[in-house]
Amino acid sequence: MVCIRDNIKGGALTETTLLVLLAVHKPNHGYGIMQFIEKETGGRVVLGAGTLYGAINALVKKKWITPSGSEADGKKKQYVITDAGKQKVGEELKRMGEVLKLASAIVKGERGANE
């Protein structure tokens, strides 16, 4: 099972978690999520089916994503992000922005690490 360390001090989401949340902004099924992630990261991130299964189940349990539509019509099980999930993505973007700003400033020499 994938561990989502969302509530530990810094509140950083794993890359897998964030990418899955992004992939289900529109209803998407397991295979579609996998393809979205591979395509959008240019093949840098290729999720294994087992890892994705754990991530989906963990996110459903947290109510950040929810099954969408019914399986009765024979279609593949789809998932979509919830408001709580969107809020987490928003928080993560803010955190990443702060880290990016800090890292850029230090790498460019605009400020030192001890300032």
Binding site: C3, T14, T16, Y31, M34, G48, A49, G50, Y53, K77
Partner: protein, 209 residues
Amino acid sequence: MSKTVFRYFFDFLDGQEKWLNSMAERGYKLKNCGKVTYTFDACRPGEYEYAVEFVGDRAYSKAKDYCGYLEEMGFRTWTKNINFNFSYGKARWRPYAKGMGQIATSPGGFNKELLIVEKKKDGAPFELHTDARDRLDAYKAVRRAYFWAVLMMFGLVAMTFIPDVSSLPAAIAWVFRAVIAAAGILFLAPAVKYALLVNRLNSACKTFE
């Protein structure tokens, strides 16, 4: 033409996976498998590839759900045993499992501790677990199963030393102990291998996802 092969793997995960992949490389795709048998059909060499996943730590309903999910993703799956035991109408305690997975029944999750997953080769590596943390959790479950197997074997040997516990003649009792201890040693090798792997992944998790 079908080909049937008899095999039992003490390294049920990587060992079995490697062997299935070597069979596929030689032009044999899995048709079905029994307790110690594998039946193959001929295919183009290297047309398919295999992964073996341990699901014996999950409740039967969860293992079935996972299996259904993999099938939906386009993989072909088979369930496989890690025991020799032929049983029907029994319930077993699986000390290494979590939650309801600790009770395995037959019919049910007993003798279905593994999933063999088949994929048509497409050039991309066939890995079911890609996230460092997820790989760590998967291998931890395997390590736990092996340690319990070793513990059970040596526990069984220790039990034979309890006075008056068995009516076996001393010589036969020593043969029995030797056989059980040998099985324990055979389980110990993969137990150590997966423990080392878990340690490596643990330290990788500190830096990478």
